[in-house]
């Protein structure tokens, strides 16, 4: 066995990882409508309606006001907190014409240029960001 058999013990560790939201069942339930909204942008006709009027398009979805606002703000960290998953949210930033690199950089507090420069020089080191409690 490579995993603990106790689901509570398994899940308990995930909040100890700095700057990371593991997509657990709890988040999946919270973000169900949000992620299904994002899926709707797989269809070109829906993308056109969304691009024409974000607010009007959101009226069709049972989202919380916070989720709607975070979508309008393209605040991806907030969307993750509200149950969004990055592969679903990718439909939103792809529709905006952003690459993964451009969109992902917005969650780090760095400019796109600084983020890309960090990646070209080997990426973010795991040193110091493995665990909050162990500070390693």
């Amino acid at each position: 066995m490579s995993e603990p058999r106790n689901i509570h013990a398994y899940l308990a560790e995930f909040d100890d990882i700095p700057g990371t939201r593991v997509y657990t069942a709890k988040r999946a339930r919270q973000g169900y409508q949000l992620n299904q909204f994002a899926m709707s942008l797989m269809k070109p006709e829906n993308r056109e309606r969304w691009k024409a009027d974000n607010r009007a398009y959101l009226e069709d979805w049972k989202l919380t006001d916070e989720q709607k606002q975070a979508l309008l703000d393209r605040d991806y960290n907030r969307l993750l907190d509200l149950g969004g998953n990055i592969y679903f949210l990718a439909k939103v930033f792809s529709t905006d014409g952003l690459s993964f690199l451009q969109a992902v950089s917005t969650m780090t507090g760095m400019s796109v240029e600084d983020y890309q420069a960090m990646m070209i020089t080997g990426g973010r080191s795991p040193q110091g960001v493995r665990s909050i409690k162990d500070r390693n």
Binding site: M1, S2, M39, S105
Partner: protein, 280 residues
């Protein structure tokens, strides 16, 4: 009898597909990422596999939150490239091998792996990018493909141990198929990367290279790496590497490395690639 002759591990970074599709592979940023696949393209032209069992994960394309299969096998005749939000990739239709796929599906279920069976779906970059990396831009893919989709998005994904054991069961299933077929198993995704949150951009070169080295030889230590270690050490999306263990498990007790390539970065991600063959 059908034979598993080789295994391939390969990242399936969408930006690699974009670079191929837009003719950018010669550019200074991209050429080091692609250079490590030239050996494999030549080798694949010699190997001429009949079928690839392609282990990958769907990225909210064929499966959304309505249905989340842990292990799903494609038994259909063919699969179209998915529209992932920027239009489908202009790559050939992926042709399946329903006879072998159904044989594997049935055998796995009798072997106590409760597979989801898929007859119709579109396939996203997780499946088409590795084909582009290995075969370039042909008019038709030179192999039949059996898609094997793994949930690595909604937790818990399957354990590394279960993935390895599934690979072993796939090997048993292939060996009992009467037709003489040259079959490869590809495990895709990874290597270290994190696409979300303030820790995004994490890369762990040392860990990735230890994982690559651990795939050859006769040790099965990699199957015991817990999810938590992937998350801490390789970023939230590094968990995709459990899919490489299905490939490794399918190669039997020992495997020999034929080729290896590692490059940082492609977009947000470490590119890893390895070619292995069974070693008795």
């Amino acid at each position: 009898m059908a034979r598993i002759t080789a295994g391939i591990g390969c990242s399936h970074i969408p930006a690699l597909g974009v670079a191929v599709d837009l003719g950018k592979t010669e550019e200074a940023y991209w050429s080091p990422a692609f250079a490590g696949f030239e050996w494999t393209r030549t080798w694949e032209r010699e190997q001429k596999p009949d079928v690839v069992i392609l282990v990958y994960n769907d990225h909210a394309s064929a499966f959304d939150m309505r249905i989340i299969p842990t292990f799903a096998i494609g038994c259909g005749e063919s699969y179209q490239p998915a529209d992932e939000g920027w239009g489908p990739r202009k790559v050939p239709t992926v042709v399946g091998h329903p006879d072998l796929a159904w044989h594997i599906a049935q055998s796995l279920i009798l072997d106590e792996f409760d597979m989801t069976i898929i007859n119709e779906m579109d396939v996203d970059h997780g499946l088409t990018v590795p084909l582009s990396m290995m075969f370039g831009q042909p008019d038709e893919w030179p192999v039949r493909v059996i898609p094997l989709a793994v949930n690595v998005i909604t937790y818990p994904p399957p354990s590394g141990n279960r993935c390895w054991a599934l690979g072993e069961a796939i090997a048993r299933a292939v060996a009992s198929f009467p037709e003489d077929l040259n079959v490869q198993v590809w495990g895709t995704g990874g290597m270290s990367h994190q696409l979300q949150g303030p820790r995004a951009g994490l890369i762990n070169r040392e860990w990735d290279n230890r994982f690559l080295a651990g795939l050859s030889g006769d040790s099965d230590a990699l199957r015991h790496i817990p999810h938590l270690e992937y998350l801490r050490e390789t970023g939230s999306e590094g968990i995709e590497m459990v899919m490489w263990l299905i490939m490794r498990g399918a190669l039997g007790q020992a495997a020999r490395e034929l080729h290896r390539h590692y490059h940082v970065p492609a977009s947000n991600t470490a590119v890893g690639h390895i070619v292995l063959e069974p070693a008795g």
